[in-house]
Symmetry: C2
DNA sequence: GCACTTATTGAACGACCGGTCAATAACTTT
DNA sequence: AAAGTTATTGACCGGTCGTTCAATAAGTGC
């Protein structure tokens, strides 16, 4: 009942995931989220409550299919470096994602993904 | 000639390095820099020109003794994830630091340092 | 002491930040 | 068609962001 939503939540989370992965948590502004998802601020806050919650939703959505793509690795890196040490909930989500990943050398893969960022521009 | 500086530039860069390493580039504010270095905003800008330049000075100072300490690894991670892909100068500094490092498995070490951040709080 | 040069100080700037909310719209139920 | 419920809209909020700069201080050389 009530007015129906105009947007698909999964799709919005997916767009937020792209942004957070590439620009980082502190590097992503609400305006950018608004522009890329098409939702206005009010709708984002009604649906997710806060920027932090939206990030957590995006991070959690990795668990469903952690594919070791650059985007996934970037988001995990952002979660670990920018938030995990001060946010136990984020830290726990990271643990779950990694425990479900069927690779023994996640650290090697994360590190390689980081080092790749300095190639191709000098 | 002129008024002499009250501060030791190397020491200020070192304090900035600590902050950037632990809080990230976008996560570190001028106010925090002011509080931890003891310099006022005007002095920081006179000495370094911009927040970005101060970060570059901090990053470059790693080259002198890249010791693979958590702080050094954190700063390198910040440089790579938050800046390197959009800032060729930062990317180049990262390359120099890593080429000077006498370790073949930097990626493994960077990754391990990241994963360590999710331990010890659930 | 006066001119010159360079550094410190901190108030002020406009831009942007994450977040709020009253008004309105779109649905269901009766 | 009226009442009830939930979603959208976007202007607005106080606070913080990185940056600037005129006033002042602290040196040196004449």
């Amino acid at each position: 009942m009530g007015r129906p939503r105009k947007f698909d939540e999964t799709e919005v989370v997916s767009l937020a995931r792209e942004l957070f992965a590439s620009r980082g948590y502190h590097g992503t502004s609400l305006d950018e989220l608004v522009n890329s998802t098409g939702l206005l601020r009010g709708s984002i806050y009604k649906a997710f409550g806060s920027k932090r919650n939206l990030f957590e939703a995006a991070l959690s959505s990795l668990g469903d299919d952690f594919d070791q793509s650059p985007e996934s690795l970037d988001l995990l890196t952002v979660a670990l470096k920018e938030l995990a040490s001060e946010d136990a909930k984020v830290a726990k989500i990271c643990q779950e994602i990694i425990s479900r990943a069927d690779s023994k050398n996640v650290s090697e893969i994360l590190g390689r993904n980081l080092l790749a960022k300095m190639k191709g521009q000098n």
